[in-house]
Symmetry: C3
Subunit: 631 residues, 3 copies
């Protein structure tokens, strides 16, 4: 009606070229648009403005001398948007005009609010974190700044929708929020990869949101301890890394040493991660899919375990479209022996984080991992147990855990016989939480016993009951711990009953007492306690009995466990010397100062053990040194 | 209109106070009700009688001098219930009246009839037996006097509905019966815990119904045998306990000795329980969730198995909201060696039932279990095999099994070489069912062989085929048994071919023949037959060969298996004496009269075996005694 | 109206008796039908022609003197089919007529087109290949000439619908095509077993279709090699058998030797079968249900593995109604040691197919299996490796794989040290695909290493990455192979470092060098490389070192691995002689010319080994003979 409006101005009129996706929200009456004829009827022509927008140009609006065919392009003015959504246009005939492209604009919705938007058509912009092909639709898990939501798309049963869209792509999803068996999802009408500009913008927004949400809370360590203070920045960094991993929808696979300290390390972190996953994922099964805790039988990350972990992760990726996991090594993982396994994983997108307090080989390990926290790298030692560090780590991941874990560092310290000065503070903290030292000791023994009985099984509920972490019946916890500790004690007694009378002793040149026990012949096999612990128990009794420097060797057909109190052992050097002396003995092993283990071929046992004893006879007495836990 | 009605009577009028849940069924025109104003409009006020009942008090019914505000309480008379359900009231103005509370009354529906009530709104009163949190709704499994039905409740995806309602609570569920993928369930509009009076009433009804349904049928044992008659009341009691366990929705975890008699015991009970579960649960997957049969590798309930069972059960409880299971020990479980495992479970709500025929330690076991059936506690012995008892038990759980099991006691007896007089009756019973003794013997050998090959696996279908229990192809059963028995026989022959020439013999002081075989050096390892059976086979041949009293010792590096015919061995005393003589040998073990096994540390084998032989040389000859099966 | 039409003819009029299932398609106006009165109303009577067809006989059409009661039978003429489907009839009164039965005729739909027929009522004729009882409906998987589709039928939750219909029955399903969570299925209104004539007809059509679809493509082997040409017809036959097995909905369980050649054999066949299953089954999960690849730890098919396979298959049959599987043995399965396991399976409907290149016992094996391909049966030998044969087999199953496998035969040949002349052609083929020999060698070592690390796990994704088969990242493949080959190499070096100095040597009578290594005492146990490979590596070094005939014996406590180069060993004869000389030694084992292994009881090791060496001293020198791979 008003095609004169623009003529009078001294600027060229603007004609909009609508993007294909544009809907009614992109229209305003009185504006001009590029249009294409899509149908010619008796009473006029139908024109398209975009995929979704078309309307009638009535014959009365068409100059008599003009006629259109399908496909013709023209400029129209939008005269009216009727109540029923029909559009009517008039023609315009500009000599000159300026064409302006109009992108489809939409309000981007926040995933965290979708429970209030069921039934609404929404637009989500986010990153694809998982693409799961089901027997029916394809499910794209899309993460925005506020959460992650599954978006379903269907072409044909079991056929991949949008085959070009993959994990890590940044997309725009247009669809309806629905509740399916109670879970929220978006039934996608359209998913498309964002173009460069939009993608960069979204990437920046996501990164900023992730950074903010991954930031651990400001906390003080549970006790005032300079040694822990020094490690705190690194633990914060690990907490940030883990929180970010969760936010990015990457699974976490936790491997831990299967003993008391390993449990005290891994169980709190497991609980904290579960809480953080629950708080940040819409999918109620996310915890189950994103977190797995696995005890390691060996004291290092064996190739077989790594192969199994990798295989399992690749199957998950193939079957459920999940990202490959982050590997979190706790109370294990700092040594050269772990590196072949790390190297295997390095060919895949699997970040590795290690928190350990065993004597490390940082030069070998650190190039292969994304983070490595170990007290030795700060001039401290095993006395800061992994459990102590990981309770702090757990609090940084989920601060709401806080005082629920007050007794755990003390258990960890007792389990690994930490001589840290801070032990008294930890014991005091536990006492305030209602735990006396004797009972804490019993917890540590019960954990060790159950770790043996469970073997490859994490035993989540049972270990929670023993450690009293999570939602636990207090009375059961108390009774169970007492029973298990007592049981463990009886088994140790039975083992030592058989073994003690077969312990051989000699006083060596340095003046230390050296004890030897043939575990193959004088200890029960395949029962609790295992050879390492059996040796440790014998050693401890001898230390108490003599009050003097003690070295204890427990040996089997092809291995020996070494423990010392008050004698400085240089085990790596011994191993290297033994290999020089007996090239056909295949000696390997390691350890540090007061604890270690070596392996050799069975047929060379006698030669190796004799030489070993000789070397120990010359080892330097150092009253400061006390046995750290063996593995 | 008629507020004069009540005035004329000489009693105070009754005004009803309706419970919040009351619906139209609680109303009658002409009655008086306490009401609360919930809205004031031009033409009157709206009043509430309960959560669901409200109606209009028209201005014409309100005295001119009266005015109401929201929240005011008054007494109204119900004038009319219109067709559309609208209620209209008039005011009354009593000086005195009596208030009577009216509970919401509803017809309680029976779960067993729900297949005819799809689409109806129903009321269920029952006990919560499982609370499963899904990714969508929470599912409460509710048991009434007639069955168990899943009731779904939804607040938010994956969020626990009615978090205060837990397993064992008595509840009233109001909801609609629906069929979901074919299964019946109730979509709950409301679930609430019953108040004291109602709860007591329901508890009594449930208990009475459970008691009636748990009652085993009146049956006679398959054969006329006083010894079995004596055990029958206890087996009935166990049957009642198991039936009650099923009715209460508690899972059953069956552990059994992995040999012929153990199979003959556990397979019939498994089948009977499956039938009973099917008959009493609406959920077609109930059998899979409520029953699990597991062979035990060791001849007692190992701590590791108990730990695994407990861990598994706790995970089921955490993930599926199931009750903790009942543990049913069959052909295992009567000895002191089982008690550490029982003690572990005792900290949890896990009832334990034992049916065994191995020589028991009742004083140690019975305080820890809920039922213990063992012929020795009635002056009988191993000759009543567990298989014989459990066929009766199975019939008491599911009488429809009846003659399907007629051949099983004979197989059990042959498997454990029972010398019971009743064997001839059992063989006759089997003969009538079409089984001659030779073939029964083959079944027992095939079972033993398959138990070895399956290791930790129950092998449900395969064992059913071998034992011909359940829905089995008769021809296949026959052929399979013959093949497997033959195969087992060949393996035994091969083992004895190697071993027999290395058997050492001597005639001891008592006149008995003593045979010794070094199994580590002269038998194949890790193959069928295992050391216990190998020893037994050698022993049996020597008994036949000599026709005199025989003692056989099969020994490995740290164990010895003992068998005797015609010589009375006091194995517990031998173990105790050996421990006194060799404090560092770690001797343990047990057995009874003619069968046993001991363990020791490898390095003391020679001393222990020599002393053992000496003790056996003095053992008393008793022609009555024949070898019972070893484990 | 026109009941005179037929009267004028000289033949008896035809009156149709409609089958119960007939619908409107069976009608034509003017025809005569047998009808039954089902209702009498004021204005006439209603008559039934079939279950679905009934209509009005108006009173005006009924002779005045005639009256009908419900149940009366009469002949009617169809006057009109109204637009709304109502039928109207007139009466006829024939003295004589011929009755012709009219079967229900329907258009049988093709399963392959069901994605275009959602919402339509269709008729399917096919064979039942699986009957799965769910908690809700029963699902019948029905296969027609074009595909397989699930058909659901419901009576009551978890109750078997049509209990008489079983796997292998030929049925007619009438129902509606629907899409359920994206998958196509038929909701059956009716399923019935076809009668003899129809069944025969369908059986013939199915058979013809299956035969056509099972026919492998016409292909030439990858290289021009007469030896392979000779095996080609048998491989085609196996391909046809496997394709038919897939078409018939029978699962395939693949067992393969867990080494390099076994991987090169099984992985291509797995991939090919996956592609063929995907192309022929509607159910998108079919691949997962129908195919399983399992490495065998032992070098033959152990009874324990067979028992586990059988148990697993029977559970699948019981739980999911699947057919029992076909067993496909690859690079294993040709020897007498496999027969006990085959015999166990022979009692069940489990076809067995073997493709192997180890020295076979055709007389023992072939009567027990459905197909057996082995180069020795054609006068060829191990030099045609199983991997070479199976690459051809895979191409015959899924020709689209073609050049994706070009490098695999060369890897297989290197893995088993094939001395085939064709190796140069295979190496050339691989070179053209971008693989040089050194790298192919590394792949073979990496496969062997991963086979050890994965143990019982197939490791699908990981092995695909190593072998570069399927959808693999090329760079990762290259890096991973190099890393793993290097790792394997280091482990071998470490093992030989310990072992080499303990190798004992002597020059025997024949002039050959004989080497002996005590693996129990001078090799690490339970690590890579295992005893067989350790022996092989020592042997290979000695062959290179001496350039003369070499025999190597690696022995443990109860076994010995034998390898020879240039010396002809008759291992079966040695075993038989040893058994004669030492009846209590339990010697068993086997092998062929240059490779073998024997077992014996531990206590007779010295005697057996000494005698073995003596026998070898006399073995004939034959420069032609080179070591084949041991197992």
């Amino acid at each position: 009606m008003t095609d004169s409006d623009a003529d009078g101005s001294d600027e060229r009129p603007v004609v909009y070229e609508l993007a294909d996706e544009c809907t009614e929200t992109a229209l305003e009456t009185g504006e001009y648009y590029h249009a294409t004829v899509n149908g010619v009827v008796e009473y006029g022509v139908f024109v398209d403005l975009s995929d979704a927008l078309s309307g009638l140009l009535h014959e009365s609006e068409i100059p008599e001398d003009e006629s259109y065919d399908v496909g013709d392009e023209l400029v129209v003015e939008l005269v009216e948007i009727r109540e029923n959504g029909d559009l009517s246009f008039s023609t315009v005939d500009f000599e000159e005009f300026e064409t302006v492209e109009r992108e489809f604009e939409y309000d981007v919705a926040d995933v965290e609010n979708f429970d209030e938007r069921v039934g609404d058509d929404v637009h989500v912009e986010g990153e694809v974190v998982q693409v799961k092909q089901t027997g029916g639709p394809t499910i794209f898990h899309v993460r925005d700044e506020t959460g992650t939501v599954p978006c379903t798309a269907f072409v044909e049963a079991g056929v991949r929708a949008y085959p070009d869209i993959e994990v890590d792509d940044l997309v725009h999803v247009d669809g309806e929020v629905e509740r399916r068996e109670g879970s929220l999802q978006v039934e996608a009408q359209n998913i498309e990869v964002l173009k460069d500009g939009q993608a960069e913008d979204l990437r920046a927004r996501l990164e900023a949101a992730t950074e903010a949400r991954a930031e651990p809370p400001e906390l003080d360590p549970l006790i005032d301890w300079p040694a822990m203070e020094e490690l705190y920045p690194e633990l914060r960094e690990v907490a940030r890394f883990l929180r970010r991993t969760v936010l990015e929808g990457r699974p976490i696979r936790m491997r831990h040493h299967a003993d008391g300290d390993g449990m005290c390390a891994s169980v709190p972190v497991q609980l904290a991660l579960e809480k953080f996953i629950d708080a940040t994922h819409e999918d109620p099964d996310a915890t189950r899919h994103l977190l797995r805790r696995l005890p390691s039988k060996a004291p290092y990350y064996e190739m077989e375990d790594a192969t199994r972990d990798l295989n399992f992760s690749l199957e998950d990726q193939a079957r459920h479209g999940q990202k490959l996991p982050l590997l979190l090594m706790l109370d294990n993982g700092s040594t050269e022996e772990d590196t072949p396994a790390y190297r295997t994983l390095s060919h895949y997108d699997i970040p590795i984080v290690v928190v350990d307090h065993h004597h490390p080989d940082p030069e070998a390990v650190e190039p292969l991992v994304d983070a490595h926290v170990n007290p030795y790298t700060h001039g401290e030692d095993y006395r800061i147990t992994t459990g102590m560090m990981c309770v702090e780590l757990a609090r940084l991941v989920a601060p709401e855990l806080d005082d629920e874990l007050d007794h755990v560092p003390a258990v960890a310290g007792l389990a690994d016989r930490s001589k840290a000065d801070a032990m008294s503070d930890y014991l005091e903290l536990a006492r305030e939480a209602g735990y006396d030292e004797e009972f804490l000791q019993q917890i540590s023994e019960a954990l060790d016993y159950e770790a043996f009985m469970l073997r490859y099984d994490a035993g989540r509920e049972l270990i929670n009951d023993v450690l009293n972490v999570g939602d636990v019946d207090e009375t059961r916890h108390r009774e169970l711990v007492e029973f298990l500790a007592d049981r463990a004690d009886q088994d140790v007694e039975e083992q030592l009953d058989a073994a003690m009378s077969h312990v051989e002793s000699e006083r060596v040149a340095s003046g230390a007492n050296l004890y030897k026990i043939d575990l193959e012949n004088y200890a029960h096999r395949f029962t609790y306690p295992a050879p390492g612990k059996t040796t440790g128990e014998i050693h401890d009794r001898k230390v108490v009995e003599t009050g003097e420097p003690v070295i204890t060797i427990g040996y089997g057909p092809d291995f020996a466990v070494l423990r010392s109190d008050g004698v400085r052992l240089d085990i790596p050097k011994m191993v290297s010397d033994l290999n020089d002396e007996f090239p056909g003995a295949g000696v390997s092993g390691g350890g540090h100062l007061v604890v270690g283990s070596i392996r050799f071929v069975k047929g060379m046992r006698e030669e190796v053990l004799d030489a070993l004893v000789e070397k120990m006879a010359d080892a330097e007495i150092d009253e400061e040194l006390h046995s750290a836990p063996t593995r």
